[in-house]
């Protein structure tokens, strides 16, 4: 099928002046084009094909994630802004995710209102894809139809007469394959043209509806009847309408006894009727042979009652293996690289600025960069599971298991994504239609151990769990890590069950969804996902972490007035009065050792009387029952904003005045001694700290996103109190039992 670029001229030549003005952009802004289509219609692939790495996506609060947007170079001289909208089946939203679309398309004055839309349509499933298209066309939005997956359609024996279909639909159609990029060039050329509103109407409100529709239309000064009907249907959920506007529509709707459900059903059936007529004339299906599609055969295995669960467990196991074993090598390189760099700088330069650079900035930066391999691997895994279509099967397998806990199969995706980061995971919960299921999922997702906990786990587990094989093939440290993850997971389930009994359902919970056909993942999409997540992490989390590290270094290095100098003087005096045993010898080697011992005591005294020390000291009485001292207190305080700061903080606190030879955090922690000269990090202390980190809510970003998603401060506040209280209680229990 050749792309009918030239054929599209009739549609592009007839642009009205108004459209032309918008094409050039009011105030010289770029043309804005929205991508819209059914879920799994290849929309995201097309978005990646068009924009490459020129995307603005953020997974942190303050950056809009509702609409992914990017820039595409359409021709040598023309650039356009591309907005990627969530997948939907119709313009009557059933979930919050889909509501984003109507909020954008109902309001011509809105900042993001597109100049035209590109509708991605699955050629192998035209009927259903055209339902959405026909609604968009009836809103008189200029549109291009990107006829995707033509290869799949052909394999299914579906022959589409593109020219005839173009005539019937009244918009340019570009056959393409978003996976390998064929047809994208042709699409770009058409996108660079001026487009008029499509001339064909597929459905119009019946005469009985007209009095209502017209009153709304004139009241709000809308450009078309169908849009006015949508106002009547959905006024309660339209964000930009004022309370008065809504009350006005409410009155009209009651006056005319408007039955929203019946009208929607009638409209959908009528649209399908019209679409069937069109398809009858433009599409022929040649069924070569009636054989079971490959996807169904794969499903027989992957959703098998035994094999299905075993395969899912195997995949999870592989995921953990990747994160904890394979990621270790690049992590070691990064860690050693940073310590080496730090040592080189310290050997060649000296002074407070150099110490700020090595003990503050570099130590903090190391704590950020070391995450990269694990985050990249985790997001790669999740992206592949999503891309292949396996994730949908996981929700299918897990639905019945999750329901007793007040969750749905769809909660599994946010929960698994929560292993990477709770922030995108909580946003992912938007696809859950039922309010109650969604709230429960949002509430418990932060209990899943996210990647920010990985360094805390890794460092502390390595400190107290021996590196030993168990059962021949498992590593004891790996088992300990798995146990921490399971602890988080089961606590999430238990908390969900409790919430299920407290919350009242607002509406029924749905589970209807389409199973995507199995596909090989496209590595370009996976690569773009990894790149975005790593970039977001390094830039956004990194800035916070490095800033906190620097502030912390200053707080740890300086104290109020002369208290630090006084503390040092006291230590020196006490030391001279009562020489430590190591200093008694006459030999110069022992003298050197004594000198080192004095240095260490001085450093400890200075840290203790610094601002940070005072901070930690104030907190100490509260956390002493958990086995924590004031140094850990400092780390807890700084990691309150973001838990990944913990390792950086520990690294900074324990570097102040310590031997520069102790390169890694782990060595520094292992060298720490208590008052009796025994290793400070006993198993009881380390496990207490680990359990604290499993449960504690220490992430400003998560609280902010929960607020944004629930539109209420009650939810993030409840999360904060519940999780932190749980963390304190469990850590207390662990320390008192193991002590």
């Amino acid at each position: 099928m050749a792309a009918p670029v030239i054929d599209s001229a009739p549609f592009t030549g007839a642009a009205t002046e108004a459209t032309a003005a918008r094409q050039e952009g009011a105030g010289g802004r770029l043309t804005r084009i929205a991508l819209i289509g059914n879920p799994n219609s290849g929309k995201t692939s097309l978005f990646n094909q068009l924009t490459g790495l020129n995307q603005k996506v953020g997974n942190f609060p303050g950056v809009t994630v509702d609409r992914k947007s990017g820039f595409a170079q359409l021709t040598h001289t023309q650039r356009a802004e591309i907005v990627d909208l969530p997948g939907t089946y119709s313009l009557y939203p059933k979930s919050l995710d889909e509501k984003v679309i109507t909020d954008l398309l109902y309001d011509k004055e809105s900042k993001g209102y597109p100049d035209f839309v590109v509708v991605t349509v699955d050629a192998s499933n035209l009927r259903r894809s055209l339902l959405l298209f026909s609604q968009l066309a009836d809103l008189e939005l200029p549109a291009i139809l990107a006829l995707n997956m033509t290869d799949v359609a052909e394999r299914h024996g579906v022959r589409i007469d593109v020219r005839a279909l173009e005539q019937e639909l009244g918009v340019p159609i570009i056959p393409m394959n978003a996976r390998n990029g064929s047809g994208v060039v042709a699409l770009k050329i058409v996108m660079a043209q001026r487009l008029a509103a499509p001339p064909v109407r597929f459905w119009e409100p019946s005469d009985e509806l007209l009095p209502l529709v017209r009153q709304i239309r004139y009241y709000f000064n809308l450009h078309n009847d169908y849009l006015a009907l949508h106002y009547a249907q959905q006024f309660r959920q339209i964000g930009f309408l004022s309370a008065d506007d809504k009350a006005h529509i409410q009155e009209l709707v009651q006056q005319y006894k408007f039955d929203s459900t019946a009208q929607q059903a009638a409209e959908t059936i009528a649209r399908y009727g019209r679409i069937n007529e069109i398809l009858l004339e433009t599409v022929t299906v040649v069924r070569t042979e009636k054989r079971e599609p490959v996807s169904n055969r794969i499903d027989k295995v992957l959703t098998h009652r035994v094999a299905g669960y075993l395969i899912f467990l195997g995949i999870l196991f592989l995921l953990f293996q990747a994160i904890f074993a394979w990621a270790q090598y690049p992590m070691d390189w990064i860690e050693q690289g940073i310590s080496a760099l730090s040592a080189v700088i310290q050997d060649n330069f000296s002074g407070p600025l150099v110490r700020l650079l090595t003990e503050g900035v570099l130590a903090g930066l190391g704590g950020v960069l070391i995450f990269i391999p694990q985050i990249a691997l985790l997001f790669a895994f999740l992206a592949v599971l999503e891309e292949t279509g396996y994730m949908a099967r996981v929700t299918f397998l897990m639905d019945k298991l999750m329901r007793p806990f007040g969750l749905s199969g769809k909660s599994v995706v946010p929960l698994i994504s929560g292993l990477a980061c709770a922030v995108p995971a909580i946003m992912g919960a938007r696809t859950i239609e039922s309010w109650k299921d969604r709230m429960i999922t949002i509430f418990v997702t932060p209990l899943m151990s996210c990647s920010a906990r990985i360094p805390v786990y890794t460092v502390l587990v390595a400190l107290v769990v021996p590196d030993r094989a168990v059962l021949g093939f498992l590593n004891l440290r790996g088992v300990a890590l798995m146990a921490l993850y399971l602890l988080g997971f089961f606590t999430a389930l238990a908390s969900a069950w409790v919430l299920k009994t407290i919350l009242k359902a607002r509406e029924r919970s749905y589970f209807i969804m389409e199973f995507p056909v199995y596909k090989w993942p496209r590595w370009k999409n996976v690569g773009i996902t990894i790149w975005q997540k790593v970039k977001a992490f390094v830039w956004q989390a990194g800035q916070v972490i490095v800033a906190i590290s620097v502030v912390l270094w200053v707080l740890a290095s300086y104290g109020p007035g002369t208290t630090q100098d006084q503390a040092e003087a006291r230590v020196r005096q006490a030391y001279q009065a009562q020489p430590a045993p190591a200093a008694v010898g006459q030999a110069s080697a022992q003298g050197k050792a004594a000198d080192d011992e004095l240095q260490r005591r001085v450093a400890a005294a200075r840290l203790e009387s610094s601002y940070a020390g005072l901070f930690g000291r104030t907190l100490e009485p509260v956390i002493r029952p958990l086995g924590f001292d004031w140094k850990i207190g400092i780390a807890l305080l700084t990691s309150f904003a973001a838990r990944e700061v913990f390792v950086g903080t520990m690294s900074t606190i324990y570097s102040v005045g310590q031997d520069a030879d102790l390169g890694t955090v782990q060595e520094k922690l292992a060298a720490e001694r208590d008052e009796q000269g025994q290793p400070f990090f006993t198993p009881a202390r380390a496990f207490s700290l680990l359990v604290f980190y499993v449960f504690a809510m220490q992430c400003m970003s998560t609280l902010a996103v929960t607020y944004r998603e629930t539109k209420s401060w009650r939810w993030p506040l409840a999360q904060l109190l519940y999780m932190t209280g749980l963390a304190y209680a469990m850590a207390l229990l662990v320390y008192q039992v193991l002590k």
Binding site: N125, I269, Y272, V285, P293, G308, I512, E514, F515
Partner: protein
């Protein structure tokens, strides 16, 4: 009383034709997804615990996954 069959009552591999949709609210979602009266549905499988179900729709051969309680609102002809 005539026996009422719904998509939930299909055996794995069995095909039926949609007669009507019972629950008006659920119907909207089902209609959008292509569950129209007159369309053929085939139960292609059940989740290991018996629920949810996998329904293959019409000639287009696409698969929906839905809970048994939801499938019970799809009435079949005959």
């Amino acid at each position: 009383m005539p026996t009422r069959r719904t998509a939930k009552d299909l055996r794995v591999g069995e095909t039926g034709t949609i007669c009507c949709l019972e629950d008006p609210e659920m119907a909207l979602k089902l209609l959008e997804m292509g569950c129209l009266p007159g369309v053929q549905v085939r139960l292609s499988g059940r989740a290991p615990l018996g629920d949810p179900l996998m329904l293959v729709l019409g000639d287009d051969e696409y698969t929906l996954s839905l809970r048994a309680s939801e499938a019970a609102t799809i009435l079949l002809k005959g």
